[in-house]
Amino acid sequence: MSAQLRNFTGSRVFWPVVILVGLIIVDVIAFPGFLDITVKEGHLFGAPIDILRNGAPTLLIAVGMTLVIATRGIDLSVGSIAAISGAVVSALLLNSPTPDNPWTVVQAVGIALILGFILGVWNGTLVAYLKIQPIIATLILMTAGRGVAMLITEGQILTLHSKPFEWFGSGFIAGFPVAVVIAAVVLILTMLVVRRSALGMFIESVGINPEASRQAGIRSRGLLLGIYAFCALLAALAGLIITSDQTAADANNTGLFIELDAILAVVIGGTSLMGGRFSLIGTLVGVLVIQTLVTTVYIVGIPPVATMVFKAIVVIAVSLLQSPTTNEKFANWRKDRRRPTPTKAIEPTREKVSA
């Protein structure tokens, strides 16, 4: 038990979880009914459900981003891809004579997702085959993508009236919001595929040493291409959820800064930007920390305008706590305290594997 506890305190997920619990405690003190969940007409409502629902698009993107970052890459274009997919769906539905027909919606959603996938293949080609640094390769689409989305919407904010499409943003499955269910299914499926097969190992190996993994027979190019395509596909899906939630496609603001939130969630969750070991559970914790922080700012009565300052403080706190420099100091301090016991008990506390 104590070994497990020590494992947990040494893991990279430890500090984010502490911060998450701390935020929830602050919320409960400020607003005692914070954790209450009520059932109205068979649907669940309450602050925790809101956190999950608002965090769902970020989580979707963060799942893809985790895999991209694990390969020592980064994808800055996800926000633009989300904007493009929202714009495409809106334009298709607005120009369709039957926007309330479920089949029309399925077609529009399918086209948007396929387009997202193709954009991901483009990113992946630049990174895997032309060997362009990921941050720059995806910067191209980040810059140009919003222009493309503006072209599709012709600079307008397209307002949607399509009942079946609104289901994505405001519908419920078994009491839970649809967006939450989609995000949960994607997270669980990704974890299963990545951890039950060798795929996760391949991804980590490419991230740690691309050359060595190539010599070990891993087809890193195809793998990279697939991962960027997967990430873009999820970004397109997130774009659909955001657009449906707002019932409007706003090429300028859909998914604006979502790439930063997603990258932040991944880093808070303990996946290093240097690639290699990744943790999807950590990413989930990271998304929850960010979303709970935003909610906390509202509940505690801090003016919402200060949210960004608090976000900055959390980023700084988490990155300083995870920094090797701090961990070394911390390890030394623990070593000093444990000095009376035999030195055998000392073990390296850094870089513990986090599930």
Partner: protein, 341 residues
């Protein structure tokens, strides 16, 4: 390149020598991207003149400087950071923050000189903080400057949600004074400040110990350490330089707009990074020039000017063109550096 043309007259062997020297320059990862950018700039300017009326005037050229003075300063700071192989995402927010500080302090009645001093010190300290996070705590530049970006943007909102206009006589005179350059052409004082910053940065990068260490760091940090160069100090200092440049840029921006507003300059960091890349600085660090970055800013400005002259093209084509240009330059850099691998 110009030397090949000038020295064509003397003996045959000398010609061949200069020709091969020319070829070496054209294919080197150090000079080639800058030359391509220069060629592109000239080609765009010429084709603009052929296509549109009233395009070939000195004022169109000078307006590129007038409208983009703040971006030139920003790109200079970004060049220092990128030369070491880092990145600074905070610069756009820092522009907004420094314009906001200026507006708020002027509103409170602080004299203009004091306001500018406080602004520049504040942004340099922000840069120092990010540099220390990166060097001492080994936080990735991307994440550390992302935190700086959130912090600066958040502080803007804390200072004021509404836009604050600037009525201070000094700021107003800086905004309206035009320096005539013969004929009807004129520039603003901001342009002179921006060119001064470029000149100082050029001197520092090429003729000071600090500048050489910056290049060495980008080439190989480990070699730099083994050579006994002050790696840590330099790494922290480039972010201070970038913070200072963002501060100056913010002050110029407030000269230009005469207001402080928390939502200004969103995404300007991308323009700055794009200008640096188009200007021929290698994103992995080690190669690049501030003059190239300034040229990169002018190319971006020229794209905007041409799109506004075209009239029928909507403004969002600007983003698409910039994206396309980025692609061309990155692939070009890839091709040029491949042979060296």
């Amino acid at each position: 390149m110009s030397s090949t043309v000038m020295e064509r007259l003397p003996a045959n062997s000398a010609t061949r020598g200069t020709l091969s020297a020319g070829r070496r320059i054209i294919t080197s990862p150090k000079y080639a991207p800058v030359l391509v950018t220069l060629g592109l700039f000239i080609a765009m300017f010429v084709s603009g003149g052929v296509r549109y009326d009233n395009f070939w005037s000195p004022q169109v050229l000078l307006n590129l400087f007038v409208d983009n003075a703040y971006l030139i300063v920003l790109a200079v700071g970004m060049t220092f950071v990128i030369l070491t192989g880092g990145i600074d995402l905070s610069v756009g927010s820092v522009i907004a923050l420094s314009a906001m500080i200026c507006a708020k302090l002027l509103e409170a009645g602080v004299p203009a000189a004091g306001v500018i001093a406080v602004t520049l010190i504040a942004t340099s300290l922000l840069g120092l903080g990010m540099g220390l996070m990166i060097h001492v705590f080994k936080v990735q530049p991307f994440i550390a400057t992302l935190a700086g970006m959130f912090l600066a943007r958040g502080l803007c909102y804390v200072i004021s949600e509404a836009s604050i206009s600037i009525n201070d006589p000094f700021f107003v005179s800086m905004a309206s004074t035009r320096i005539p350059l013969g004929g009807s052409a004129s520039i603003t004082i901001s342009v002179i400040i921006a060119l001064l910053v470029v000149a100082v940065a050029f001197y520092v990068l090429h003729y000071s110990r600090f500048g050489r260490t910056v290049y060495a760091l980008g080439g190989s940090e480990q070699s730099g350490t083994l050579m006994g160069l002050p790696v840590g100090r330099t790494k922290v200092l480039v972010y201070v330089v970038s913070g200072l440049c963002s501060g100056i840029s913010g002050v110029l921006y407030s000269f230009y707009t005469l207001s402080g507003y928390s939502l200004t300059a969103v995404g300007t960091e991308l323009d700055a990074i794009a200008a640096v890349v188009i200007g021929g600085t290698l994103l992995t660090g080690g190669y690049g020039f501030v003059l190239g970055s300034a040229l990169g800013v002018l190319v971006l400005g020229l794209i905007q000017t041409m799109i506004s002259y075209e009239g029928t093209l909507s403004s969002w084509w600007t983003r698409i063109f910039i994206g396309g240009l980025l692609l061309v330059f990155i692939v070009l850099q890839k091709v040029l550096t491949r042979r060296r691998d």
